[in-house]
Amino acid sequence: MSGPSTAFKGYIKYRGYGHVAFLLHRLTGLGTLLFLLIHIIDTSFVYFWPEGYMHAIALYRSTPFMIGEIFLVFSVIYHGVNGLRIIYFDMFRPDLWERETGKRSVIWTLIISIVLWLPAALIMVRNILVHH
């Protein structure tokens, strides 16, 4: 029967190129949304609770958060690139939703995202190493 638990089971157990792209799109979207929410809340602290704000800023400079930021950059890039692919296919070139082209486009999206992400990731890793 359909419902949240079936969806969750499917997310985990189903296989396929498109399925992986769909899952990554969801995860990176939710990840980015989570970050935005936290960020909006902590920025609002400046007004309501200045010490809390300073505390949050200090927290962001800790290693786990900086590693998290590297993934955040990937999330934003992947979500953007994949989103553009979907918009382009769906609005302008439905014929590209063909079985083989569609599969290949999933791989290309991943490659382009990683290529765009790597330079940023390297700089960020270096920053972690220099600061700590």
Partner: protein, 236 residues
């Protein structure tokens, strides 16, 4: 060669929860997964329940999840699976009646909602013969005529898993078949139905339907064409 089948088992009348049963059997690389199920049922456990009819990929009754992907058991050869460990589970998103048999009624209910039949109240041509169309006009919807309503696409769709109200790929494919038929006059009516909340715009282009379709219908493309027809009001 020896293969190990891990099969989802559930009898709602007896079992409190589903479980998996493992069977080891001899198989030829050219055996189909359906042959293995028949072997299990004949020689190992006669209580195993699954649907099948034509055994040639025509009737669409043996749709199931094989190693995590929706397939027709009669169209999958053991050698093409790339492993001797085969996990067989029922389609997702529909209620399990017993073992690999699911209740297809919600699927057909969605199908009926899109008016999947020819609509044209105009009088037939004066010669009393069929309504003609050009080969190009016929070609326009050729791909979506191939659907066998097996349910593989709809039950591979993450949107359908979450919400059975979503019409699903199969219903949209069958709407597409008539919307783009030059002889049909029901396109507007169908597009209005498909523009509703549970219609085409619930599609998240996960693309699993296209990858899974045993008739190789370009489903995501068909859905995109319907989306476009709704947005632009054009049927080209």
């Amino acid at each position: 060669m020896q293969v190990t089948l891990k099969i989802f088992r559930y009898n709602p009348e007896k079992d409190s929860a589903p479980h998996y049963e493992t069977y080891t059997l001899e198989a030829e690389p050219t055996d189909r997964v359906l042959d293995l199920l028949e072997k299990v049922k004949s020689y190992h456990d006669g209580t195993l329940a699954f649907r099948r009819s034509c055994a040639h990929g025509v009737c669409g009754s043996d749709a199931m999840r094989i190693n995590g992907v929706n397939r027709l058991a009669c169209k999958v050869l053991v050698k093409d699976l790339g492993t001797t460990n085969i996990t067989i589970e029922p389609l997702l998103g529909l209620k399990v009646v017993k073992d690999l048999i699911v209740d297809m009624e919600p699927f057909f209910e969605n199908y009926r909602k899109v008016l999947p039949y020819f609509i044209n109240d105009e009088p037939p041509p004066p010669d009393g013969r069929e309504r003609l169309q050009t080969p190009e006009e016929r070609e326009r919807f050729d791909d979506t005529t191939k659907c066998i309503l097996c349910g593989v696409c709809t039950t591979s769709c993450p949107t359908f898993w979450a919400d059975g109200q979503y019409f699903g790929p199969a219903a949209i494919v069958n709407a597409h078949r008539f919307i783009f038929d030059s002889r049909d006059r029901g396109a507007q009516q169908r597009l209005e139905i498909l523009a509703q909340d549970s219609g085409v715009f619930r599609c998240r282009t996960a693309f699993s339907c296209t990858e899974a379709c045993p008739r190789e219908i370009q489903i995501t493309k068909a859905i995109a064409e319907v989306k476009r027809a709704i947005l632009t009001g054009r049927l080209d």
